[in-house]
């Protein structure tokens, strides 16, 4: 070993000599390599979803559409965009995934007059509609539909399930084209209902309670939880209120949580919890239970049933309406909402985008409608129910939902749902503590007071 090598092994000195070996030339070489690698990597980047490789042909305009990842993936949106781009003589759709914080970006672009996109999917009307309209983010589409020459343009709005049409309407104008509708329903694993001798799901609260008790006894050794709800108001109390009264909302535009239907629903929920027929609080850890098929019945939005079918097979799970408080009693359907494509205010090519929406989601595009149904989402057009659902054994539950949705009272047109959800859920949670002595009336009166306090601070009503 040379003296230099020995020196290099001495702690500190060895390290220093290593640093010395890194010269400026090395740094420049690394920098040059990185600079060269940048464009190469960028060139290797896969094109964004549905993004056409070529520029629009002469006379065609480029229309920017942004969509949530799940919308892009769920029913193959990029392939439909690609097909449209081949067929359309006037427009080329450029599809991109929504960027982070897109709402603030879009709004500031609109206010500066420099909007680069024309529309977005998806609007969830009961949460977004009033916010997006009032903030000036989206514009009505009635006028564009009226003058559109795309096949189906004359019939599409009239073909919408009436309450779905109402769901996308605000102050008398239509704010988007929905592609599917989701509603709160009861989902179940057929094995457990079959295990207690039931072929049909329970239709009333009493029948549900009875079935849950039987499941608990029958499947105790498998640690199966009989029933749960998703912890949000529309998937629990709101759905049950709809199932017990024809007037679920007050004149203030709030869910009637202090009325008799609410008290009855809460008593029912509490009895389930007290009898040990649910996970803690009626909903803790419900998703894991459901996805492992350790939960027999679930009150949730209807796509959760299709999730279970995808995991365990189409015959293993099914979906049906929320059981009613009393057969033949008053009811108001179920909470529902449409998944809607909208057009931005200040869009450069609103007509072309609406034309695309009509081509994509109109009654004439059979293949897209089939893809939507296969993805587990219920369609929004009456004609599709007649042609594709009524004779389809696997998706016949959708037909039941169509009728239920058509008879449902839509959400009030305001921005109060999130406020109500954040104020009511903590009180429901307290009520659903096992052995809780809190009275239903006290809990809901407190919640209502908190809601009113917060609503009083809002300017958009």
């Amino acid at each position: 070993m040379t003296s230099q090598q020995r020196l290099a092994r001495v702690p500190g000195i060895g390290v220093a000599s290593q640093y010395r070996r890194l010269t400026r030339r090395h740094a420049i070489a690394v920098g040059a390599l990185a600079t060269a690698a940048g464009p190469v990597l960028a060139a290797c980047d896969a094109p964004a979803a549905g993004r056409p490789a070529e520029a629009p042909a002469k006379g065609r305009v480029e229309v920017g559409l942004i969509a949530a990842r799940w919308v892009i993936d769920e029913w193959g949106l990029p392939q439909w965009v690609e097909q449209y781009n081949k067929e359309s003589p006037s427009a080329m759709i450029k599809l991109e995934q929504v960027p982070d914080g897109w709402q603030a970006k879009v709004l500031s672009m609109i206010r500066e007059g420099s909007l680069v996109w024309d529309g977005v999917g998806i609007m969830t009307p009961f949460i977004d509609k009033v916010q997006w309209v009032e903030s000036g983010m989206i514009q009505p589409i009635d006028q564009y539909v009226q003058v559109s020459t795309v096949d189906g343009a004359k019939t599409i709005l009239g073909d919408l399930v009436p309450t779905v049409k109402q769901d996308v309407t605000y102050k008398g104008q239509i704010y988007g084209i929905p592609y599917s509708v989701e509603a709160i329903g009861l989902m179940w694993y057929t094995e457990y209902l079959g295990g207690i001798g039931l072929r049909e799901p329970p239709g009333t609260w009493d029948a549900l309670l009875d079935a849950a008790k039987k499941i608990q006894i029958q499947f105790r050794s498998q640690e199966v939880v009989p029933f749960a709800w998703v912890p949000a108001i529309h998937t629990s109390l709101q759905a049950l209120i709809h199932a017990a009264t024809d007037k679920p909302y007050t004149s203030e535009g709030l869910l009637d949580i202090t009325g008799p239907a609410s008290m009855r629903a809460l008593r029912f929920m509490r009895s389930l919890v007290e009898e040990g027929l649910t996970p803690p609080h009626g909903s803790d850890g419900y998703l894991d239970l459901w996805q492992r098929s350790k939960l027999a019945l679930l009150l949730a939005q209807n796509s959760r049933g299709v999730w279970a079918q995808r995991i365990f097979g189409p015959d293993k799970a099914d979906t049906g309406p929320v059981p009613v408080a009393m057969r033949g009693g008053p009811q108001s359907g179920t909470p529902f909402w449409s998944n809607t494509f909208v057009v931005f205010n200040g869009a450069k090519h609103p007509q072309q985008l609406v034309d695309f929406y009509i081509w994509l989601l109109g009654p004439k595009n059979d293949k897209v409608q089939q893809a939507i149904i296969e993805s587990g989402k219920a369609p929004v057009l009456d004609s599709i129910y007649k042609s594709k659902i009524e004779n389809n054994q696997r998706f016949r539950w959708m037909a039941r939902f169509r009728d239920l949705i058509a008879a449902s009272v839509p959400y009030p047109e305001n921005t109060f749902w999130s406020i109500q959800n954040s104020k009511i859920m903590p009180w429901i949670n307290r009520l659903m503590e096992k052995g809780s002595t809190l009275s239903l009336e006290e809990a809901m009166n407190n919640a209502l007071q908190e809601i009113r306090e917060e609503v009083a601070k809002q300017k958009v009503r």
Binding site: Q131, F416, S418
Partner: protein, 322 residues
Amino acid sequence: MEGTTVLTEQREPIVRAFLRHARAIRRERWGNLWGYVFIAPALLLYLTFNAWPVVRGLCMAFTDYRFLIRGSEWSFNGLQNYHEMFFRDRVFWHAFAVSLKYTMMTFPVQLVLSLLVALMISSITRQGVAAFYRIIVYLPVVLPISVAMLLWQQLYHYQFGYINYLLKAVFHVSQPPNWLGDVRWALPAIATAGVWKSFGGDTLLFLIGLYGINRELYEAAAIDGANAWQRFWNITLPLLRPILVLIIALNAGIASATQEMLILTNGGPQNATLTLGLYGYQLAFQQGDLRLGYAASIYLLLGVIHMVLAGLVFKFFRTERY
């Protein structure tokens, strides 16, 4: 004309001298102007993406800016936000208390744990083994918070979670806690996940301090008969003081914790994990008019609290430079 030329000739050296002097002063005070040209792009980026948002946020905290109300961006309302916050908003005080509790739960534990682990790692003499432990300890820090929290959500599941499985199978606990669903356990459970996620960063900082302490001090103390505790108390801790101050100041931000709660419980059960950070997020991005102005005032208050805490730490734990 001749007279003028003479005057100019006489003035020239004076002007030149003045200019030379001015140039010297400028160079002395401002340095080379090219330096400013070179840093200008970086400065511009900093002003655009760092300084402006801070100024904008500061202004926003004194407005009634509501995302849904057009033209409300600059509607200044003086101290109304703060009046509402302190005197009319019960949820604010609840969230404040939760934030305080969360800080009390995480901060001391994180500090002691990271110091303990750093001491253990620093005592490892084999470099490879020490490096292995440093990596292990630091891994949770680089893990995206969403992944880390979803992992803990699985661990905490009341029926399928590994923690309750262990409690039931090994310790025969018949009714293990409902970690995220029980008001009593939810905040400590999140605090545990939070400490796990971030104590690696503090450990690394402590290690930097520990590796910088001269070993001869310990040898001398050992010769003088100091035991391990005395060596830690009289040598390690005083010499770690600058690092300790830095860690305490950096951890002042725990009070505004948001993401952990957002992912694990969304403020529940019964608002038991609703921190100020999460409350501000709900007001700004989820509820009603989307009251960005009011939310900004909450965040400004958090910022002021952090600044005061950091200032106090620097004031009372000030150390000499070594």
